[in-house]
Symmetry: C2
C-alpha cells in the first residue's frame, strides 16, 4: 500500500537539497525553453494520491438518473396499460359502496364509536365524584376498551358488505380511539391520585401546623407569597375534575396527539395561508396516492401472483423490485400527507401548538432510531403510557421495551389483517423481523459508519413493505378466490 | 408570506414582558401538574419555520433507489433476453475478423501509419540541417498530414472487409496521430525559430561587444556565472535538434499526451501495485463495457428502430430513456478506463509524470466547463496548438474559439461517420447543439444556481448521446439494409 500512497516521485528527487536545487533550476530553465512546455508532474484526480474529494456533482447525477428512470417507467406503464386512473372507482372505494348493496356498515361502526367515548367519560365522572369505587371504575374502563378494540374484529369478520377502505378506516379509527382513551383514563387516574395525596398532605400539614408554631414569620410570609403567585397562575390552568366534560374530551379526540393532558399548549391564531396549503396538500396528495395505486401497484401486484406461487425466484424478485419503487413513493406521500399535511391541518384548526409529529427519521442510522422518530404521536404515547408506567411498577427496562414492541406488533397486525379478513401473520412477522434487522443495522453502523446504517434503514423500508404486501395479496387471493383462479392465470 | 414565516405564536405572547413572565410561570406550573404534560409549542420539521435542513439521508436514499432500479432492470433483461454475452463474438469483433474473409484491412492500415511518421521525422531532419527550404518543408508536412487524415476515409469507404471496431480503431489512431504530429511539427518550428533568433542575437551581440567594451567587470562576471549555471542545467535538458530521432518521436507517440515537448517530466520508478491495478481495471472494464453493449444496448437499439421510423413519440421516448441509462453507464466506464486506467498505465510504463488527464467535470456547472475539463489532452492541445497560435497571429479570441470548436466537431464526425460509412451529420449536429446548450446551462446556472447548471450538464450527457446513437443506428440500417428490413420488422 505504502508504495502507492507515496505518489509520484521524480527522478533525482530522493537526493539531497543540492539535487532539489538543480531540479528547481532545471524546472525554471525548462520554462524558458523554446518548446513552450506545459507538462508538469501531477496525479490524476481519481488516483488515491491526488487527495481530491469533491464529488458533489454525482449527487445531482443520482437524482437526475432517478428521475429519468422514473420517467421511463411512467412511459412504459402508460404504453403497456393505458390510463388506469378512474376517479369514478375512487368514489366507490372511498365511500365503501360496492355492487352488493346499499348498506354502509363502516359508517354505522364509525358512528357507533361515540358510545364507548361517552361511556368512558361517564365512568370518569362517576370516579371523580366517588359514586363508584376505584376498582369498579377501572374494571369498567378495561371492559370498555377491550370491547372497543375487539368489536370491529368481530363485526367485520361476520358481517358482509365492508369495502377494504371502509374496513381499514374503521380499524384505524378504533385503534386511535383505544390509544387516546387509554391515555385519557390514565391521566385522569394520575390526577385523582395527586388530588388524594394532596388532600392527605394538607390534612397532615394542618395537624402539623398546630404542633410547631411559626418560628420565622418573614420567611413564612415569603413562602406564602410565592404560593399565592403559583395558585394565581394555577387558576389560569384547568384543574381536575373541571376537565371532565364533553367539550374537553372531544377536543382531545380531534387533536393531533395520542397523549391526553389538561392544558394543551395553544396557538394564538389560525394562519390562513398555512391552512390553505395543508388543505391543498391533503386533497392533491390523496389523488396522487390513488393514481399510484391504480396505475402502478395494482398491475404489479396482480402480475406477481404466478411467480410467487410457483416460487420462480428470478421472476418473483423482478416483480418485487418493480413493486418496491411505486410502493415506496406511495408510502412517502402517505407519510407526508398524514404526518405533515393532515396533522398540521388539524393542529391549525384546533389551535394546537405542538406540531412535533415526526423526527428526522430519514437520517436514522439504525432501525431503532427510525422507529423512535418516524411516528412521534405513537412513540410518545408508548413512552408515557406504557414504558414509563411499567418501569415505575418495577419491571425492567427490557421487559417494558418488549411489551411496547408486542403491543405495536399487535396493532400493525390488527390494522392489516382485520380489513383483509386474512389472519396471516405477515405484518406480525414483519414487525418481528425488526429485531434481527435492528441488530444488523447497528452492526453496519458500527462497522461501516453511519452512512451504511442509514442505507440499511432505507433498504428495509423500500424492500420490506412490498414483500409483506405481496404475501398478503397472494394469501388473500388464494383464500378468497381459491386455487382455481391461480390455475386460470397460469394458463394465460 | 410573512404571515406564515413568523411561525407559531402563542396566546398572550404579544403582550408585554409581564405577559411573558406569566407565560414562564404558567409553563413552570404546567410542568408540575399531576397530568405529566409532554406537549410544548413546536413546528414540524418539514415546515418552513422549523429551519430544519438536514436531509443527508435522502442522498443515500437516491443512491439506494438507483441501485434497486438498476438491479430490477438487470433481472428484467435476463428474464426477457437470457444471457446475450458471448465472448466468442468479442474475439471476432475485437480482431475485426468476420465471415467475409481472412483479410485484415484494419491491421494493414494500422501498420501503414508508420510511413507518415517516418516521413514527418525525415522532413524535420531535413529542415533542421537546412537541406530543404522552410516553405518546402511546411508544404511537405501539410500534405503528409492531410494524406494521413484522409487516407482512412478513402480506404474504409472503398474497401470492404472492415469490421466496425477495426475501422473505429483505425480512425481513432489516425486522429490521434494527426494531432500528435501537428504538435511535433509546430514545436520543432518554434525551436527552429528560437535557434535562428538566438543566432541572430548572438551575431548582433558579438558585433555589439566589439563596440562597447566592458565597463563593470564584476557585474559582468556575475552575469557570466549565472549564465554558466543556466547552461550547465541546460546541458541536462535535450536541446533542438538533438531531439530529432526515432526514439524520442516514438516515446512522444506512445506517451499519454498530444502536446510535444523536448523534456517531458519523468517519474523516478514504476509503482508495481499501481501498474497492476490499472492493468486489471483495463481488462475488467473492457469486459464490462462489452457486456453492457451485448446485453442491454443492442436489444434496446434494435427495438427502437420501428418507433423511430414511425415517429411514435411515446414509444420512441420510452426506448430512448431505456437506452439512456446503460449507454450512460457504458460511457462512464469508458471514461474511467480510457482516461484513468489506460492513460495512467501508459504513463506509469513510460515514466511519464504528468497524469493530468481530466478535471472534475462531474462538478461542471455549465457545458463550457464540462468541455474544458473532461478531456484534458485534447483541450490542452487545442489551446497550445490552435487557440493561442491563432490569437498570436492577430485573430480575435472569438474566431480562435470557433475554429477550435469546428475542428473538434470535424473529428467527432470523422471518428463516427467514417467507420459507420454513414455520412449523416448527427455527430456534427450534436456538436453544434452544444452552442445553444451552453447558453441554456449558463442561463440555468445564473438563474437557479450552480446545482441547476450541473444538472443541465448531466442531462445533456445522459440524453444527448443515446439520441445520436439512435439516429445513427436508424440511418445505418436504412442505408445498408434498405427499407425492406424496416417493413419486415413492422410485420413482426
Amino acid at each position: 500500500m505504502s508504495g502507492e500512497q507515496e505518489g509520484i516521485r521524480y527522478r533525482r528527487a530522493q537526493s539531497v537539497t543540492r539535487a532539489e536545487e538543480i531540479q528547481a533550476v532545471k524546472q525554471k530553465v525548462r520554462k524558458s525553453q523554446p518548446d513552450k512546455p506545459i507538462h508538469k508532474p501531477r496525479d490524476s484526480l481519481l488516483s488515491w494520491n491526488s487527495g481530491f474529494e469533491n464529488f458533489t456533482g454525482f449527487v445531482n447525477w443520482a437524482f437526475l438518473l432517478l428521475s429519468i428512470g422514473g420517467l421511463r417507467l411512467l412511459l412504459e406503464n402508460f404504453i403497456k396499460y393505458g390510463i388506469r386512473v378512474d376517479p369514478v372507482q375512487w368514489f366507490y372505494i372511498l365511500t365503501g359502496q360496492d355492487e352488493q348493496g346499499t348498506e354502509h356498515p363502516s359508517i354505522v361502526l364509525i358512528l357507533y364509536s361515540v358510545v364507548p367515548i361517552i361511556f368512558c367519560l361517564l365512568t370518569e365522572k362517576a370516579l371523580a365524584v366517588e359514586i363508584i369505587s376505584r376498582r369498579m371504575g377501572m374494571m369498567m374502563h378495561v371492559v370498555n376498551l377491550l370491547v372497543l378494540i375487539f368489536l370491529p374484529m368481530v363485526v367485520i369478520h361476520y358481517k358482509d358488505g365492508f369495502s377494504l377502505v371502509g374496513a381499514s378506516t374503521v380499524t384505524t379509527l378504533y385503534s386511535v380511539l383505544f390509544l387516546k382513551l387509554w391515555s385519557y383514563v390514565q391521566v385522569n387516574l394520575w390526577c385523582r391520585n395527586a388530588r388524594q395525596s394532596s388532600n392527605n398532605k394538607s390534612l397532615r400539614r394542618q395537624s402539623l401546623s398546630y404542633n410547631n408554631l411559626p418560628k420565622d414569620e418573614d420567611s413564612n410570609k415569603n413562602h406564602k407569597d410565592s404560593k399565592d403567585d403559583l395558585s394565581n397562575t394555577e387558576r389560569l390552568l384547568v384543574q381536575y375534575p373541571d376537565n371532565l366534560n364533553l367539550r374537553d374530551l372531544f377536543y382531545f379526540l380531534c387533536a393531533p396527539t395520542l397523549c391526553y393532558e389538561l392544558n394543551f399548549p395553544r396557538t394564538e391564531r389560525i394562519r390562513k395561508r398555512f391552512l390553505l396549503k395543508r388543505i391543498f396538500e391533503v386533497l392533491a396528495g390523496i389523488q396522487l396516492i390513488l393514481c399510484i395505486f391504480q396505475q402502478y401497484m395494482i398491475p404489479s401486484v396482480k402480475n406477481s401472483l404466478i411467480p410467487f406461487s410457483n416460487m420462480d425466484v428470478a421472476l418473483a424478485s423482478e416483480r418485487l423490485l418493480k413493486l418496491a419503487i411505486p410502493n415506496h413513493l406511495a408510502w412517502l406521500c402517505m407519510f407526508y400527507i398524514l404526518f405533515n399535511s393532515w396533522l398540521n391541518l388539524l393542529g391549525e384548526i384546533l389551535h394546537f401548538a405542538d406540531r412535533n409529529f415526526y423526527g428526522d427519521w430519514w437520517n436514522a442510522n439504525n432501525i431503532d432510531t427510525f422507529w423512535r422518530t418516524w411516528n412521534l404521536p405513537v412513540h410518545r404515547w408508548a413512552l408515557r403510557h406504557l414504558y414509563f408506567p411499567l418501569v415505575e411498577l418495577g419491571y425492567g427496562k427490557q421487559v417494558a421495551g418488549i411489551t411496547v414492541f408486542f403491543i405495536s406488533a399487535f396493532f400493525h397486525e390488527y390494522m392489516v389483517s382485520v380489513p383483509l379478513k386474512t389472519y396471516k401473520i405477515w405484518a406480525f412477522m414483519g414487525m418481528m423481523g425488526q429485531i434481527p434487522l435492528s441488530n444488523i443495522s447497528k452492526f453496519m453502523e458500527r462497522s461501516y459508519g453511519a452512512r451504511m446504517g442509514n442505507i440499511v434503514v432505507w433498504a428495509s423500508l423500500i424492500i420490506g413493505q412490498p414483500l409483506c404486501i405481496m404475501m398478503y395479496y397472494h394469501d388473500y387471493v388464494i383464500t378468497h378466490y381459491g386455487q382455481s383462479l391461480l390455475e386460470d392465470y397460469g394458463h394465460v
